[in-house]
């Protein structure tokens, strides 16, 4: 890319190079592995729960037809649980991202600014 070559030639700190340096840094590696682990776990859990519920509904409908209280079936309870699931996920996500990811992000962004100053 012509552009990049030109920019690199004239700039003391090539911004793209700075990104590469950050990407290789220890703090970023930690952030990445933490965030990937978290996102994978979250996705697997939620998709797993949902798929599980759907499979039970499709292949073992008898289980969900059982009456729990009056006309309320086990299936209705399960579906209500699924509808509430995103709210629970959100609460967990806000907490995790705020406590475990944001501090690392702050540090990396400060480093990125500091390195260029």
């Amino acid at each position: 890319m012509r552009t990049d070559a030109d920019t690199t030639a004239t700039l003391p700190h090539d911004p793209r190079a700075a990104y590469l340096a950050v990407q290789r840094g220890a703090a970023f590696t930690r952030l990445r592995s933490r965030s990937r682990r978290y996102v994978t776990a979250m996705t697997a859990l939620v998709l797993g729960l949902f798929t599980g519920a759907v499979v039970v509904a499709g292949w073992f409908p008898g289980v969900l037809a059982a009456r729990v209280a009056g006309n309320v079936t086990a299936g209705i309870v399960l579906a209500a649980g699924l509808i509430v699931l995103p709210a629970v996920t959100c609460a967990v996500h806000l907490r995790y991202a705020g406590r475990r990811l944001d501090p690392l992000v702050e540090r990396i962004r400060d480093g990125l600014d500091g390195g260029r100053r």
């Binding site: 890319m1 012509r2 552009t3 990049d4 030109d6 920019t7 700039l11 700190h13 911004p15 793209r16 700075a18 990104y19 590469l20 950050v22 990407q23 970023f28 952030l31 965030s35 990937r36 979250m42 996705t43 939620v46 998709l47 949902f50 798929t51 759907v54 499979v55 509904a57 499709g58 292949w59 409908p61 008898g62 969900l64 037809a65 009056g70 006309n71 309320v72 079936t73 299936g75 209705i76 579906a79 699924l82 509808i83 509430v84 699931l85 995103p86 959100c90 996500h93 806000l94 991202a97 944001d102 992000v105 702050e106 990396i108 962004r109 400060d110 990125l112 600014d113 260029r116 100053r117």
Partner: protein, 595 residues
């Protein structure tokens, strides 16, 4: 009618868009989390996710409840996508992808997919709305329906034309409030009637369903034998994965000042959606309980007229009316942004447009798109085109979703991969759908007379979504292009938000704001042209170098120039301003106002 006049009054007060890109497409990124959350909710609650969900519950009993649950669960995906979207996004999908890829081809592909999806959705919405409102308001036949469609199309076009993203978002917020209130009133009336005895309500719904239909409180209606079951699984999983990546939803991740706000605004949307969907299920069950549903009509308005006669039904009709306007407006603005930035500027003009010109083109595009879609909707209004809705969710899940995920997460991804996964995923879903029972071979399909349904399911997501990923992988493997640096930029930006587009301070229009910007530029002094993201393949260099103050005053320069203004925040900035930036995390624009 009165509702829409009120909306117009408010939009004209709150949301006159200025002629800058940032304001027109993303309302200067100044919305707060609750506002944006409400707007997300208002955008999402279109025909499928509100009225059709209640219909599903009323007609298919328990399996309809699962459809509703699938729509709710899709918000988990939206939650996880929001932050990287905000961090790497500018205005359109093409902007995000061109951080790593060669601009022209990916922008063209992104525009193709976005326009396909937005146009399909708009047309289906308009057709559905026309039918529904004609029934509700007892308008005379075809002419009335065409009139309703044209009114909605026109009003939506006006909202976007004058209000831009700001006006659109306010319309969606108002719509969210109205919708929630309407559902609350209906469900309240229903539950009071049953003295909050959910069991009795369910019992009535069960007895209303005729014998031989099976138990509506247990799975069965959509889970037939054999392939039918897998088809329903496919439908549910597609909706979980597809809704989150809809282009007109993710443009709302860009209207907030930071990734943290994007996260919180999705959370706000979820706080609204959870009770809303529980109530929608109650409404669906209630519609079934109070004497069954006419399958040719929507369940919620029928329930409303049973509960409160014509006044309540008319109120619901007007809420539906505003809903369709808000959703159509949201669709129109993301389609126009995509058309102008990704399509027109890079393909027709073969280069970025200047800012004023771009907004003019976007405004014209909105008018043209709305007129075309209105005409399409009027032409198609007697066709059963509901399958187009499932089509575009499928297309999104098998094109945009794989492309975004791979370009954020996979080092080896490149331009060819992105093109393969977008065109391939779209082609796969269209082709599979064309040979599915949705198009031919069964009584409910588009062409019932002929039979070329070789694919067994009407919902093709279970096959086409993995195909989208496979195409991306193959395409990337077949091309020798390596995007290591671009990947670094993309990954660091996605996770940390470094170099992400900032909120434009509210004061920016005033003299004060522009003075600040000028001062900031002057403080840099060196006039160097930083070019941090891989966005521009040379756009920046088309501008005269050095004359930075002029550039800033003219607003953002096209294409690569956009990044320039934003990058100015990251590269050498005097320490005094550095401190200001620290506190900026969630607060956005205020920082500059203090200055």
């Amino acid at each position: 009618m009165i509702f829409s006049l009120v909306i117009f009054f408010l939009v004209s007060r709150l949301g006159r868009a200025r002629d800058t890109r940032s304001d027109f497409y993303t309302a200067d990124r100044t919305f707060t989390a609750p506002q944006n959350g409400a707007a997300l909710f208002g955008t999402f609650m279109m025909m499928t996710s509100f009225l059709a969900a209640a219909d599903e519950v009323a007609r298919n009993g328990y399996d309809g409840v699962l459809v509703t649950a699938g729509l709710a669960v899709s918000w988990v995906a939206a939650l996880l996508l929001a932050e990287p979207m905000r961090n790497t996004g500018r205005y359109t999908l093409g902007d995000t992808l061109s951080i790593r890829m060669r601009q022209r081809p990916v922008r063209l592909a992104a525009a193709t997919v976005t326009l396909l999806v937005c146009c399909c959705t708009t047309t289906v919405q308009l057709v559905g709305a026309g039918r529904l409102l004609t029934q509700l308001l007892h308008l005379p036949g075809t002419a009335g329906e065409a009139l309703v469609i044209a009114t909605i199309g026109g009003l939506a076009a006006m909202t976007v034309y004058y209000g831009g993203m700001r006006g659109t978002t306010w319309t969606q917020i108002i719509n969210a409030v109205l919708l929630f209130a309407a559902v609350l009133v209906l469900a309240g009336a229903l539950l009071v009637r049953y003295r909050f005895d959910v069991s009795a309500l369910l019992g009535d719904a069960a007895t209303q369903a005729g014998p031989g239909d099976g138990d509506p409180l247990a799975p069965g209606a959509k889970f037939g034998a054999g392939t039918h079951r897998t088809q329903f699984v496919s439908e549910l999983l597609t909706s979980v994965l597809g809704y989150a990546a809809l282009p007109y939803l993710f443009i709302h991740h860009l209207t907030v000042p930071s990734a943290a706000t994007a996260r919180r605004s999705v959370a706000w949307a979820v706080w609204l959606i959870t009770p809303f969907y529980l109530l929608v299920v109650v409404l669906g069950v209630g519609a079934a309980a109070l004497g069954g549903v006419d399958p040719r009509q929507s369940a919620v308005p029928q329930l409303a007229s049973r509960l409160g006669g014509f006044p309540l039904a008319a109120a619901v009709a007007s809420v539906v009316f505003t809903t369709i306007i808000a959703v159509t407006a949201g669709l129109a603005i993301s389609a126009a942004a995509s058309f102008t930035r990704d399509g027109y500027a890079t393909v027709v003009r073969r280069g970025p447009l200047d800012e004023a010109r771009e907004i003019t083109v976007a405004r014209r595009a909105i008018v043209v798109l709305c007129v075309l879609q209105t005409l399409c909707a009027i032409l198609l209004m007697h066709q059963d085109i509901g399958f187009l809705l499932s089509l575009d969710v499928t297309v999104v899940a098998s094109t945009i979703l794989p492309t975004l995920l791979l370009s954020w997460l996979w080092r080896g991804f490149n331009t060819a991969g992105a093109l393969w996964s977008m065109y391939g995923g779209a082609a796969a879903s269209l082709a599979l759908l064309a040979v599915s029972p949705a198009v031919s071979g069964s009584p409910g399909s588009l062409l019932p007379g002929v039979d070329f349904a070789y694919f067994p399911w009407t919902s093709v997501g279970l096959v086409s979504i993995p195909l989208g990923f496979v195409f991306g992988y193959l395409g990337a493997g077949l091309s020798r292009e390596r995007t290591e640096t671009g990947y670094a930029v993309m990954e660091v930006r996605a996770l940390t938000g470094a170099g992400a587009a900032e909120a434009v301070p509210a004061a920016a229009t005033t003299e004060r704001g522009s003075r600040f910007r000028r001062r900031r530029t002057a403080a840099r002094g060196d006039g160097l042209r930083h070019h941090a993201d891989g966005d521009g393949d040379g756009d920046t260099e088309q501008q005269p170098a050095g004359d930075v103050v002029r550039v800033v005053d003219a607003g953002e320069e096209p294409g690569g120039g956009d990044d320039e203004r934003q990058d100015r925040r990251r590269p050498p900035v005097p320490r005094r301003q550095q401190q200001h930036r620290r506190g900026e995390g969630g607060g956005g624009g205020r920082v500059v106002a203090r200055e």
